[in-house]
Amino acid sequence: MINTASTPPKPQSYKTNVEIDWCPGCGDFGILNSLVLALQELKIPNENVVLTGGIGCSSKIPHYVNVNTLHTLHGRSLVQAQAVKMANPRLEVISASGDGDGLGIGSAHFVAAGRRNVDMTYILFDNGVYGLTKGQASPTLPYGEMPKSIETENIKFPVNPLFLGLASGFTFVSRSYSYNIKHLKETLIRAMKHRGLSLVDVMQPCVTYNNINTKEFYDPRLYDIEKEGWNPVASNENEYKQKVPQAVLKSLEWGDKIPMGVFLDYQTETYDQKLQKLVPDYGKKNYVMDPIHSNGKPLNDVTDLMNSFC
């Protein structure tokens, strides 16, 4: 969900002047540009945005976006991002990381995130290889493939991020393409506007190490499922139960035709609403800005708690 600014920030103010160290032609650039465009269009004040990254080429993106950024540990981008949103629900929180980060070392957090449904957006930079360590096979590399950077063909089956996202409980599940800025920007905007946990799986060539899943590979194969009539919106639990299996079937398509677009858009209870069931004042008070002391004297008083043990 979006909290927009009363005075829109200047265009370009979402980019830092940090020199970008991705390889020329890297698919990461398309994602960075789309994200910056999306933020400009949504006009969220910079100080109210938090972008987290894990470790890897793509996870350096926090340094290039002029918002609050947490460059976390390998695999921990999504889990830290959820905590930021839980700590301060007023923030717009975006997590970015590669497929190795999110579905290899961080897969436990990916699955658990679906159970919570924190209102935030997770961008998966999906290129099939571990670029920063010179191109080892990552969890999404198709079975049997052997990009030039690996020593032997890949004998593991790939994880399907969309299928796993649907199974885990993500309430907005989508795929886009880093060389289709218009589609990617629009998908990111929809993901951020969605109230709940959004997955944006971005097909993204690694020009240095993955010579199979290239622009030439993707361009003729990717098609937009929504243009072919798929309606991802589930407006109640029954529709959700009907939509999910169909979305799963679509997510399994891979080969001559590769689907992209929004597979599922379902609004249900978000984690802040669920937390409010346990902590009635949660979200009403501002945990960050409201003081916890007055001149050093605690505002909490545990006298009642002490008495309960007497």
């Binding site: 700590a87 505002l299 007497c310």
Partner: protein
């Protein structure tokens, strides 16, 4: 007149032994007695042999006794295992007839049958209330007013009044029908209001008082009791407790919440801490004020999950790759645990670094009486936290004291860039400049000297006993209790309790230990504090008294070892 009285409730896990001992302890607490308990649980839910000890005295007591005055076994196995510990003039309350002259023959069956009839129940339905029969038998022998016992029972079953009524009817019957031959006359005391708590409660209350807003945890014995306690009170005090998918998530969430501006913490035990270690290093590098509550248990690996040990001192001090500043505090009792918890948050935020509070299973599961905390002594210091609009902001700005102003998301003009890679003042990572590396390492590591300089003396060490004693025990954590109790019998030895393990208070330690005969007491195999002492000060201990069988130190074994005319280099305590 007895100075102290020791009651043991033993039986299979799940048979109500915990309930029985807790009820007794609460009644005695309300009588104004000091109460100390020790729980020895088997790592199962139901069936295996477990036992609780309750020691009662009008004076403060800090350890359990090997002597049992009243034994309440709830099965035959418990009779066999514990009767050897029963005092010559003790009593054993057991439902079947025993040849032992100490057997207190409470008419279990008649009492239960009377109450069952009165409530229209089958006798078998009241089997679970046998422990109440025994408990009432004990309180009658001690000469307690039955109404006081009934009041605690009613409170315990507040949500199930029918159950409370039945249990209380049992109490009435026992007091009417049981003719106790043996009685126990405790030295009288006057009422004083005290809490009956363990360290998970003390830490929990400390966190609430300190303004905690975010706690994350993954279930683990014995740490999760603290998080579960916080879950019970979070609705009232407005904070969140998050049960995560694993301990890696737990600490990463706590770190992220801290960087978002909340006082945040995680609690765990050894196996969970091991999973947190990478992120601990990250919190040092990113200057994140996160607090980790580390309840040690017997390791290695899964070890003995419900048993006690202080085996992780050196590990917690060195865990994490690379060199980064950390503060580690080891409270020695529940009262210290409360105040240290608040200090830990203040230190974490003031110096922007991870703080580890090192506790142990004995503290987590040993309930005892504690005077209410003095809240007027509590102060909150959030350091250089910025919550209003700022400009020209750099998260890792070099300053004279090495501590940068700390902004958080949502502050206009105060965008933060937090990075675990080596970074510039602005948090960006595209420098591996050699000079910057030196400046950043100095910035972070120099905090340790500031902590040491500014920490109050009694957060670093505490000294007990006569300063003129030639022999000084050095110890830490929950070992303190039995040592201080033993020092009331063995007067020629003093105690230096080391509380701040990192940065190590060399000056204070030297002041108390230089020129002394040093005796190390700790509950691990090797004597880790003795090693640390040597590393930091060059001082050698003459004896390492260690205990590592999974049980805390008993009062008598501590007296016995300290009374030896000549101590060896290594003395192993074995009482269970």
């Amino acid at each position: 007149m007895m100075h102290d009285l020791n009651l043991m409730v033993a039986g299979p896990q799940g048979s109500g032994i915990n309930f029985t001992s807790d009820t007794f302890a609460k009644v005695m607490t309300r009588e104004g007695y000091q109460v100390f308990t020790n729980a020895e649980l088997f790592s199962t839910i139901k069936g295996e042999h477990s036992y609780f000890r309750v020691r009662v005295c009008k004076d403060i007591i800090r350890s359990y006794s090997e002597r049992i005055d009243i034994l309440i076994p709830l099965d035959a196995k418990s009779v066999l295992l514990h009767v050897k510990e029963l005092a010559q003039d003790g009593a054993i309350i057991y439902e079947d007839k025993l040849e032992d002259p100490r057997h207190a023959a409470v008419p279990y069956k008649d009492i239960l049958q009377t109450v069952a009839t009165k409530f229209g129940k089958a006798l078998s339905e009241l089997n679970v209330m046998k422990n109440t029969v025994a408990l009432a038998g004990a309180t009658k022998m001690i000469g307690l007013d039955k109404e006081k016992l009934k009041r605690v029972i009613s409170e315990n079953f507040a949500s199930r009044p029918k159950i409370a009524d039945m249990n209380n009817a049992i109490v009435d019957e026992v007091y009417a029908e049981f003719k106790a031959e043996r009685t126990f006359d405790l030295e009288p005391t006057t009422y004083k209001k005290r809490m009956f708590i363990n360290s998970t409660h003390a830490v929990g209350m400390g966190k609430v008082e300190a303004g905690l807003k975010f706690q994350s945890y993954y279930p683990i014995t014995p740490a999760s009791d603290e998080s579960n306690y916080l879950e019970r009170v979070m609705g009232k005090y407005d904070f969140i407790v998050e049960q995560t998918e694993d301990e890696i998530a737990a600490i990463n969430m706590a770190i992220a919440a801290a960087n978002t501006g909340l006082r945040s913490a995680t609690s765990t035990s050894g196996p969970g801490f091991s999973l947190m270690v990478e992120a601990l290093s990250y919190s040092g590098m990113t200057e994140t004020p996160v607090v980790i509550f580390y309840y040690q248990r017997a390791g290695p690996a899964t070890g003995m999950p419900t048993r006690h040990e202080q085996g992780d001192l050196k590990y917690a001090l060195s865990a994490g790759h690379g060199e980064f500043p950390r503060v580690m505090i080891a409270p020695g009792d529940h009262k210290e645990a409360f105040y240290d918890t608040i200090d830990a948050f203040n230190i974490a935020e003031k110096y922007q670094l991870p703080v580890i509070v090192l506790l142990d299973k004995a503290m987590a599961m040993s309930n005892y009486t504690v005077d209410p905390f003095d809240l007027s002594k509590v102060k909150i210091d959030r350091g250089k936290l910025i919550l209003s609009e700022t400009k020209d902001y750099l998260r890792y700005r070099f300053t004279d004291d090495g501590i940068s102003p700390r902004s958080v998301p949502g502050v206009k003009g105060g965008l933060i860039t937090v990075a675990g890679d080596e970074h510039d003042e602005d948090g960006h990572i595209f420098t591996e400049d050699a000079d910057n590396r030196i400046k950043m390492m100095d910035k972070r590591m120099n905090k340790m000297a500031s902590v040491l300089r500014e920490a109050p003396p009694d957060l670093k060490v505490k000294f007990y006993g006569l300063p003129t004693n030639k022999k000084v025990i050095v110890s830490w954590g929950s070992s303190k209790g039995p040592i201080i109790d033993a020092m009331e019998k063995v007067k020629d030895v003093s105690l230096l309790q080391i509380r701040m393990m990192e940065p190590f208070p060399v000056e204070e330690v030297m002041k108390y230990l230089k020129g002394k005969t040093i005796i190390d007491v700790e509950q691990n195999y090797s004597g880790q504090l003795a090693d640390l002492l040597k590393e930091k000060t060059g001082l050698e201990v003459s004896t390492r008294i260690v205990k590592f069988n999974g049980r805390p130190i008993a009062f008598e074994e501590m007296v016995e070892v300290l009374s030896k005319p000549k101590l060896g280099k290594r003395e192993v305590l074995t009482y269970d």
